[in-house]
Symmetry: C2
Subunit: 223 residues, 2 copies
Amino acid sequence: MDSFPEIAKNSETIIRMPTVRRLPRYLRLLIELKSEGKDFVSSEKIAQALDLKPIVVRKDLAFTGNCGKPRLGYSIEHLIISIENVINFRGKDTAFLAGVGNLGSALLGYKGFEKYGLNIAAAFDLDKEKVNKTVHNKDVYPLEMLPVLAARLHPYIGILCVPEESAQEVVEKMVSCGIKGIWNFSNKELKVPADVVLQNEDLAAGLAVLSISIDKKSKAPVQ
Amino acid sequence: MDSFPEIAKNSETIIRMPTVRRLPRYLRLLIELKSEGKDFVSSEKIAQALDLKPIVVRKDLAFTGNCGKPRLGYSIEHLIISIENVINFRGKDTAFLAGVGNLGSALLGYKGFEKYGLNIAAAFDLDKEKVNKTVHNKDVYPLEMLPVLAARLHPYIGILCVPEESAQEVVEKMVSCGIKGIWNFSNKELKVPADVVLQNEDLAAGLAVLSISIDKKSKAPVQ
DNA sequence: TAGATTGTTAATCGATTAACAATC
DNA sequence: TAGATTGTTAATCGATTAACAATC
């Protein structure tokens, strides 16, 4: 943890989305390997564990600025730190969540966010019945309180789990409070200002891929 | 609904994943337009609504086998049917869900699956305390009951929301009961036989993309 | 007919893969 | 040194974009 390779914080590196989406998978594996007491791992081993090709692993890991050692592989500890830095999974970033329905409540109770460096500091709802309670130990406030709490807690991510009808309105409230990224679990197509990042999570997209893949496989059993 | 264009059920069409992932977005928009009484829509209009380029829309829609009419655009009703057919969102496909924790419960209560042609017919859990109850009106059975209920209900998709430790074991049970697709919400890297489709949903992947995009945007404000 | 909009063909861009030289 | 494993450079593949002819 003391001697530490120069991280290529080369801010001009291009974001390659497929690589970024794989980084959390490497991270989980590396943390597991570390807990088993391992110090180094090769791209070949990582590839086997994650069902990838070794060259993909090497290309992806190069993107984190970390260097492997010929014959040894990659330092697990250094890689973990590099990946966490690149995708910002270290530290505690503050998020607000809006919409404490089924999905919103589940996310409030999701333990994994701690590992991802995300702290849901407060939750909000328009429904008077859901408000002024706690869900999974998180306080749920009326939406009107958003500006006051934002001024105090400085959230930078807004997690959106409200029904489609109110999604745009809630996003605008979040944006006007200085939130810089919207993680959208509603299926509403949202408009955000150019300086705000919108990340849509679409359950139906995954299901569509699954359905069509099953279809293809059953129709073309020889491959 | 009577006169209906020949659908190119050309089974040799290649699956283009980015296209497939966008199809549910077109579908939602088209259903909305239909409810507004519209009959035709142009690729330009669709592109505006979904923040895409018109050429992307035309290429994607061509993939559904549907033809647009020059000067008129696409028949909304026909397109809806074509898209639903391609991604198998018509009819009622049976799914089993395993793991009735926070996320599993939320999915059991998710109304949208009806629209996606997915019917969660039964839920399962290893925890004796969670079993023999109903969650959002779905029966929760002990995992041992899976084979019996599978023989009766013929599920073809298994939705996996169990903790990582038991994920592989549960998947194997599902596969041995004839399930052809696994929708994996756990973060476990699963092994499945070659004839079974695995679709991983990784929350951390979306969060990583969001985080890194916010970073980039704040560091490169001129674009 | 003129004009709007589609669908096709070719060009560009980006991601994956292959080949191999560099390194410990 | 020999051998394993990395990182680089070039080739391939697939998706997006551009240009434009076809169509109503």
